[in-house]
Amino acid sequence: MKYTIILTEKSDGRIHVSIPALPDCTVEAGNRNEAISLARQAIMETMSRSELVFLDVPQRPKTAPSSGAVPWEWFGKARDDATWDTLFDDIEQRREATRKAR
């Protein structure tokens, strides 16, 4: 298994190693080679005490977002729109057609 490690030189010249996949696992060394070696040991030591579990978490599709407030600007907006009534009459007629016993 490959791990990405980040070697950062500190102001005193020492090398700090962080391992993004194992955030609690860090090492420090006097030079680059030693840092890599210590990081390898630290990862092996940590993993020997750890178990990898892959969780499959199903996600329910969430509701599409809408802003928090009632969109009052649309409330009653279709009052003078004759096509609005036609639109919903058609929807009701289509539904009614499927309600009739086959």
Binding site: T63, R95, R99
Partner: protein, 142 residues
Amino acid sequence: MYLWDANVLRHFGQGHPTLRLYLLRVPWSEVALPSVVVAEVLRGRCDFALKAVPLEAPLAHRRLLETQEMLSRFNIVVFDEPCAEVMERLRRKQRKRERYADRMIAATAEVGHHVLVTRNQTDFVDLLPKAQLANWIDDPPG
């Protein structure tokens, strides 16, 4: 959530006074449209835009875009796989009748434990428990 049937959306557009009273009491975040109703409304508007005679077409296209914009202000509950399973169960219960949209809406309400707000409760009494039905048009809030 309170899931609106198409007939409630119709009265929203018409500014129905009883519906207004509910909207003053119920947080908008608790109101949603089933994706089935969104599809029905957009189908109607699309048909109008695509079949209108040339003189009516500009109006039809304006209405399509306005409606799309209005719908975007609603929460939408999506008809997903669990809804499809419930819908199939309802179909077996109702063998003699197709009632496609009714069953889709009822299944969406059942899966999400939503209250279906509709003016046509008679179309849903055999699909949903009475406690999951409400009428925000004819029954004023208590």
